[in-house]
């Protein structure tokens, strides 16, 4: 402890002037900049969702003044949550903070580029907030043509610009990660000694680098058609609206895996640590991350089963969509098997991780129903789809993000948080989430279409349940914000390794020094060297450290 007290002076948080943050090239500080940014966007998107759920408590439109207001809200909810929260969430926050630490490097390969990508996201985000303030956009986050190009009278071009710019932030982050993982691993850190979080982020980066440019082209063409009135997508001008859907989903389906894969990586770190067991089937999990990234590029057409594409295209995309479920299933089974014969402790990060496994399993299995083309014809564009992707993106990605934040918070801030409040928040989120979104599966199969401002009266009870759940969920999300910020009032007390976790990031101080390691470590063994034996003794120490 006394040795640590000396090192405080050089930890990465030690300069407080604004300029030292805005011009930093330290990957850890940039990670925190992203964290502040996306937390802001999360609550903006969350506020939109709250108002939408309030509106949907009654079948008639009464909370909001007009259907247009509702349409703008769900569009902004989607745009903000997807492009400015979920896609940057784990990669840009935890990935930035952890990848150099985990592979034993002093920083990412291109630190200035890293800072630049944060500024690029800020520019895109500022435009998005500007749109929100000056009138909004009502196309849905999918920008389907020809509605977006020729019919909507809202700020479509600024929204396309915001998405276009944010895309470059994503590309630059992915590029930086790929190069860093390829060239900057510490001596002895072979590919199969990499933590699975790094594997997951590597696969994610591949999607970001290869998928995002196609989205950029799609939204750029929307802007061109809208500004110049030349036919690209509008059939009245000789265009093809289905082409837009192909280009859009070619990115936007893999984008789901940009949100999900990093969460899977987080879970693969947390479950072994709190089970005191090496992960079950390391290689299979690593390969399944890459398999998901690759297969994810081949299934975009399952968003278009009823769009008028040919029956055979539908069947092929259906088949490939089933195939992409297999690597996901492998991961779920392997995480579960990791707990077998372990020494399990249900601390906050573990609760979030287990919550992730449960919710992701449900999200994935309902995904199989959607891949079954005959069922999809019925439930496409209904609340069934809404429930499904929230189980994946909120139950999956956000649970993983929160689990990761709770796991690495001691490393990032040097502080422990209240374990009691942590467990409470994990349970609140889990219960609130299920209450919000499970009724939507029922609503969807009943046939309630999505993006409806008003709906038939017989759907009301389920909608009220959903809204009630959303209010619980909101509490669950505000709670961590409060106690994590509150923990900053105390001096750093976590110690380098409060969870007694393996992994290079735990071998340096909390918070880490500016260039991460006093000496670059030489790696001699694989990750997850845990053993259930003597876990209780470790436990005692861990408790000491967390006091």
């Amino acid at each position: 402890m006394s040795a640590m007290a000396v090192e405080f002076k050089e930890d990465y948080l030690q300069a407080y002037r604004l300029k030292s943050w805005l011009l930093t090239t330290d990957h850890k500080r940039i990670g925190l900049l992203y964290m502040a940014t996306i937390t802001f966007f999360f609550f903006v998107g969350g506020a939109a969702a709250t108002i939408m759920r309030l509106e949907l408590m009654t079948p008639k439109g009464d909370v909001l003044p007009s259907p247009d207001a509702y349409n703008r809200l769900f569009t902004m909810h989607g745009v903000v949550m997807i492009f400015f929260f979920l896609i940057p969430s784990i990669p840009a926050v935890l990935g930035n903070f952890l990848i150099p630490l985990m592979i034993g490097a002093r920083d990412l390969a291109f630190p200035i580029l890293n800072l630049l990508s944060w500024y690029v996201l800020m520019i895109g985000g500022s435009i998005a907030i500007g749109i929100l303030i000056f009138g909004g956009v009502d196309t849905g986050w999918t920008f389907y043509t020809p509605f977006s190009t020729m019919f909507s009278n809202t700020m479509v071009v600024p929204a396309a610009t915001a998405v276009f710019i944010a895309g470059f932030s994503s590309i630059l982050t992915g590029l930086n990660f790929i190069v860093t993982v390829h060239t900057m691993r510490a001596p002895g850190m072979t590919w199969f000694r990499l933590p699975l979080f790094v594997w997951a982020l590597y696969a994610t980066s591949l999607i970001q680098v290869l998928g995002t440019p196609v989205l950029a082209i799609a939204v750029a063409l929307v802007a061109v058609e809208r500004l110049l009135h030349v036919g690209i997508f509008d059939p009245a001008l000789g265009g093809d609206p289905i082409l837009f859907q192909h280009l859009f989903w070619f990115y936007s389906h893999p984008a789901v895996y940009i949100m999900l894969l990093p969460s899977m990586g987080v879970v693969a770190e947390i479950v072994p640590c709190f089970s005191r067991r090496p992960i079950f089937g390391y290689k299979l999990i690593a390969f399944s991350s890459v398999a998901i990234a690759v297969l994810g590029f081949l299934v975009w057409g399952h968003h278009m089963f009823v769009s008028g594409q040919s029956m055979y295209a539908g069947m092929i995309f259906s088949f490939l969509s089933f195939m992409v479920a297999i690597p996901s299933a492998i991961k779920v089974f392997n995480w579960t098997a990791t707990m077998y014969k372990g020494s399990v402790r249900l601390d906050t990060p573990m609760l979030y991780a287990l919550g992730f496994i449960g919710l992701f399993t449900m999200g994935g299995l309902t995904g199989l129903m959607l891949a079954s083309v005959a069922i999809d014809v019925h439930v496409h564009d209904t609340y069934f789809v809404v429930a499904h992707f929230h189980y994946i993106m909120v139950g999956g990605a956000v649970m993983g993000y929160l689990g990761g934040i709770h796991f690495w918070w001691p490393k990032m801030s040097g502080r422990m948080y209240s374990e009691l409040l942590g467990k409470l928040s994990a349970l609140t989120v889990f219960i609130g989430f299920n209450l919000t979104f499970f009724p939507q599966f029922v609503l969807g199969y009943l046939g309630m279409p999505r993006r409806y401002y008003e709906y038939p009266a017989e759907f009301q009870v389920l909608n009220v349940m959903s809204t009630a759940g959303a209010s619980i969920l909101a509490v669950g999300y505000v709670l961590p914000l409060a106690y994590l910020l509150f923990s900053l009032r105390r001096p750093p007390d976590a110690g380098p390794n409060p969870w007694r976790a393996s992994g290079l990031e735990w071998q340096t101080d909390s918070p880490p020094p500016v260039h991460n390691f006093e000496e670059i470590p030489i790696v001699t063994r694989g990750p997850y060297q845990y053993s259930p034996e003597g876990a209780e003794a470790i436990d005692g120490n861990g408790d000491d450290a967390s006091r």
Binding site: S307, M362, D381, T382, P532
Partner: protein, 316 residues
């Protein structure tokens, strides 16, 4: 208040098949969710830190287990895929004796037109036990025609025709929705589908209206837009006769080559709106374009007329 539905009506012949597949998938989903949850809870309890459970020789990887949980789900998925694909094939292909109804979507209403002539807005009347085939198009943006009780849905696109079919199996009134977001009043773009006894349906068809069938109305338009001037055998203009053309391959001049195109809804529509794009071999491209001059419902009537003279030809 507690009297609310949890499951939609099964009002078409296909509905119970879709539901069967759905319940199968639901069973699989339920089984695996339960299995994972039970395993997690059991492991968390049995191997909790303070327990003295046997932890000897824990496996770190097992080829056999991994093959089982790759192979098992793969088999189940192949079953689901095959089942769903076969069912989809059935849902895709309308029976030949289907009753034709034409639907035009526009912001924010549905316009349905029966071949017998009666048209309706935001409602669709159909007889029990007859397959119905909808030919649909949109006047503006993409819509989606969705009848939950029938388990059918199809996007409706501007500039082209999409089709769907169903066979009502239960008398009643069912929701009709637009499922593809289409702007301000998207949620108000819907109405009711009425399934009636065939006899009542015939009465309903003959009530009100002009009494003229869709083809008859189309014939009037055919004359009104001066189509008849050339296409009914003119002395001055050399234009192809249209009797019997529907549903047959027509030779189309493509540069120096001639290829055959099926004269279907798409071809006839394109030939009216953009007559020069696919000209029948041996004719001059002299027909003017009617783009922007004929509404979508009128276009459908004209096509119905051209189709009807084909049918007459065939029966003669």
């Amino acid at each position: 208040m507690w009297n609310f539905p949890l499951f939609p009506d099964q009002a078409s012949t296909i509905a119970k098949h879709v539901d069967a597949l759905y319940f199968f998938a639901l069973g699989i989903a339920g089984f695996f969710t339960a299995m994972i949850c039970v395993l997690i809870l059991a492991f968390a309890a049995r191997y909790r830190r303070k327990s003295t459970a046997d932890r000897l020789n824990p496996p770190t990887a097992s080829r056999t287990l991994e093959i089982i949980w790759i192979g098992g789900p793969m088999l189940l998925m192949l079953t689901m895929f095959t089942w769903a694909a076969i069912l989809f094939y059935k849902m895709y292909d309308p029976p030949v004796d289907a009753l034709e109804v034409y639907v035009v979507g526009k912001q924010w209403m549905w316009h349905a037109q029966h071949s017998e002539g009666r048209a309706e807005i935001n409602e669709l009347h159909v007889p029990l036990g007859r397959p119905i085939r909808l030919t649909m198009t949109s006047q503006d943006v993409i819509h989606s025609f969705f009848i939950p009780a029938f388990r059918v849905k199809q996007d409706v696109l501007p500039g082209r025709y999409t089709t769907m079919w169903f066979e009502p199996a239960k008398i009643g009134r069912y929701h009709l929705f637009c499922a593809e977001y289409c702007g301000t009043n998207h949620s108000a773009m819907g109405g009711w589908v009425y399934v009636m006894e065939p006899v009542e349906f015939q009465q309903w068809l003959s009530q009100a209206g002009t009494g003229a069938s869709m083809a008859e109305q189309g014939e009037r338009l055919f004359v009104q837009y001066h189509c008849a001037g050339c296409h009914r055998g003119s002395q001055t203009v050399h234009a192809p006769r249209l009797e019997g053309v529907y549903g047959r391959p027509v030779p189309v001049q493509q540069g120096t080559e001639v290829r055959f195109t099926l004269a279907d809804y798409r071809y006839i529509r394109d030939s009216i709106l953009r007559p020069k794009s696919e000209v029948v071999a041996g004719y001059e491209p002299v027909m003017p374009s009617f783009e922007g001059q004929i509404t979508e419902p009128d276009l459908l009537k004209i096509i119905a007329y051209i189709k009807s003279i084909g049918a007459k030809e065939a029966t003669q």
